[in-house]
Amino acid sequence: MFEISGVCKRFVGVLALDHVDFALKQGEIHGLLGENGAGKSTLMKIISGVYTYDEGEIRMEKEVVQFHSPRDALKCGISIISQELSLCEDLSVAENIHMGHLPEKAGGLIDWTKINTQSIEAMRDLGMDINPRLKVKHLSTSQKQLVEIAKAVSRNCKILLMDEPTSALAQTEVDHLFLKMRELAKRGISIVFISHKLDEVYTVCDRITLLRDGRKIDTYMVGEKTQNKTIELMIGKPLDEYYATNNTGKITSKLSTEVIMTVKNLCTENKLKNISFSLHKGEILGLYGLMGSGRTEVLRALYGADKVNSMELTLNGKQLTKLTPAKSIQNGIVLIPEERKLQSLYLELSVSDNICIPNLNRLCAGPIVKSDKRDALVDDCITRMGVKTPGRGIKIKYLSGGNQQKVIIGRWLANQPKVLLMDEPTKGIDVGAKSEIYSLIHKFSQQGYSVLCVSSEISEIKQLCDRVILIRDGKLEGELERSEINLSNISEALAVEHL
């Protein structure tokens, strides 16, 4: 019913999609799997008209279609729920659900009663009960995600694309969503479901298409291959080989009992409530929670990037107060933010500049930057992190995501930090670079650096962390040792109490 053939998409320096074929049947729920950077979101953005494509063709009901903008895709009945929520915070729930298709009375006036009643129905369908006049900014992240879903569903679409729709949802909400999806499928709507949670894909999907490094690897019915076999196809290696190369002997944790940092009663205005935990020397501590649970806020608070209502932070026995990023850096705490394009990279500047800018103080004699010291630092960083770049002077926007991330991590190491705060360190990075970054993180901890690492992938947490603390709605809900890390323990700890 809907077919893509031979689609290619190039971004500067990267071939994101390499002659990908994809076919969708009417009324099916089709899972799209692949590691970070495999091309899933890119493919979805092409189907929904957000991106143009360089080669290939798209057919709807056997007819070739061309999308020049999201509007064209919408007209063809394709609706997308994006990974990043795209709601207007200052508008009401009802207006957001009806974005782009506000019901009108005769004469072109907006029919407010209809909007509100329709919204209530749409939300009830998803198990929600919210006042439709409420402004979206007052909702929790999981509620926002459900509004986003209601928005897509209310469009009477033929094809529904869902990109990580459950990243903020608790189990009961996910179950409700799956019921609704099956209902829509029965009505003849086709659904493409992207999730990196393999269990979910295996629960709700009929067929699976697997992408790896921009290429389609396979399409098959869900029953045909086991989850382990699917993982192997996703990473491109047999499972034991993967674990072997990524297991750098961290099993027997010579875990130091020496506490390097303690946090007590961290409270922020909007989110965090009395967060307290400790970090040991050489430990890799994971921080796991759903989207919107406050993970990034914890890191930013520790770094001094956000205002806090209260926090007692001790590093090596010394209390730290009135934190700012500059002070944190001086004290040996560094932050690697989640969104490198928005928060870390200077895209128009060279690799050399990106490495040097936070280190200029140590490279200067007075106000002047010494070029020999600068070049030495840059070369050292590039070799130490294994950054693949044709030169120091090339603009960093031309490097791949994995290499960009290595530059960002590497630039902080020159400071000999004591604590590395990492927010989703492998976000948007291809498989090969991912395992390189894991080895680097393991190496750091062996060298005595301590790491606090936010991640939303359980497999990543299991690979990296000695311990993990779990956060939900701004509160810490529990702690697990490495051996206890698995989906059921985590779900239990984060279970929603009300039903």
Binding site: F11, V12, G13, V14, L15, D18, D213, G214, G236, Y303, A305, T324, P325, A326, K327, S328, I329, Q330, L335, P337, L342, Q343, S344, L345, Y346, L347, E348, L349, D353, C356, I357, P358, L360, N361, C364, P367, I368, V369, S371, K388, T389, P390, G391, I394, K395, K397, Y398, S400, D430, V431, G432, A433
Partner: protein, 326 residues
């Protein structure tokens, strides 16, 4: 396996180098083209006096362009500079009347108008308001101040040596041109080799990232806006010296010319990009254009229309350059 996805690295350096040459070289080619066309249209164009006139004329813009380049690199904009040129001219005239020598008067004026830049910077940084709107307000206030101080009249009756700076030559080159070259080289040095210069690129390129890197973004912005007004003050002194009087009416829409020169030279209104040498080329290009039009006896009213269109062209050019951001 993954290397197949990344276009060969060696292709990159060549490609990006070519891109750079095309973008920057294009402006230089246009400049050469203009020179040839005007030269053909009017043979007086190439006379030594005329060429020196062009350079002298545009030196005022060029000095301001150095400061404006820094402000643009920081991701901000400064509309006060035209009004500062007027106020600085008035201030230096009064200072000289009061008995100061040229050098002392110039330094005093530069420091004085620097306070205005400091004011701009503090408002923008503290209240996080768009610099375009703040400096628009300051511009009007400064312009008004000039009129108030002088009662709308020019400040004249100045000693002969007052015109030395703006009108005379040193080793055959107009003094303002020498000053311009010194300022351009200093500006280039600060941007390329000092910590503060590199921080300007960081703050303008990605202010969130700069903040997380521990850079005091407020200080950087305040600094850039202060330096900019000081350089505008220097230009104002030179201009008054040329006219041999301080006048409250001069400098009208100089800020637009200066911004256009910087953008033609490759600075981006979005911040994070800019190069003082190319801004100088942009200023020369504008100088050649106006001089050429003058020689062709195009009226100044038509020149104003031309200016407006060039500014729009420069802004669109800037946007097109940024369209293919990765």
């Amino acid at each position: 396996m993954k290397n197949k996805l990344i276009v060969k690295m060696s292709d990159f350096s060549i490609r990006t180098f070519m891109k750079k040459i095309v973008q920057e070289g294009l402006i230089i080619l246009i400049l050469i083209g203009m020179i040839i066309i005007f030269g053909i249209a009017n043979s007086n164009f190439f006379q030594y006096d005329n060429l020196m006139n062009i350079f002298r004329q545009m030196s005022v813009y060029a000095i301001m362009a150095v400061g404006m380049t820094m402000v643009l690199i920081c991701g901000e904009i400064d509309l006060t500079v035209g009004a500062i040129v007027a106020l600085a001219g008035i201030m230096v005239a009064y200072a000289v009347q009061a008995g100061m020598n040229m050098l002392a008067a110039t330094i005093l004026v530069m420091l004085g108008v620097g306070l205005i830049g400091l004011f701009n910077g503090i408002i923008v940084a503290t209240f996080r308001v768009p610099s375009m709107l703040v400096t628009m307000g300051t511009m009007m206030a400064v312009r008004g101040t000039g009129y108030v101080i002088t009662n709308g009249r020019s400040v004249s009756g100045l000693p002969d040596w007052f015109g030395h700076l703006g009108r005379n030559y040193l080793i055959g080159i107009p003094i303002p041109v020498i000053v311009t070259l010194i300022v351009v080289v200093l500006g280039w040095f600060v941007l390329k080799y000092t910590k503060y210069g590199r921080y300007m690129y960081a703050v303008g390129g990605n202010s969130e990232s700069a903040n997380l890197c521990g850079i005091n973004t407020k200080k950087v912005i305040v600094g850039a806006l202060t330096i900019n007004t000081m350089l505008a003050g220097l230009s104002g002194v030179i201009w008054a010296s040329r006219l041999n009087s301080g006048q409250p009416v001069v400098g009208q829409s100089y800020e637009m010319q200066v911004i256009a020169a910087c953008v033609i030279g490759g600075a981006s209104l979005r911040g994070g990009k800019g190069n003082v040498f190319m801004s100088l080329v942009g200023a020369i290009l504008l100088g050649v254009l106006y001089n050429g039009l003058n020689l062709l006896r195009v009226s100044s009213y038509w020149q104003q229309i031309a200016t407006g269109l060039i500014i729009i062209l420069a802004i669109v050019l800037d946007s097109l350059r940024n369209l293919n951001k990765a």
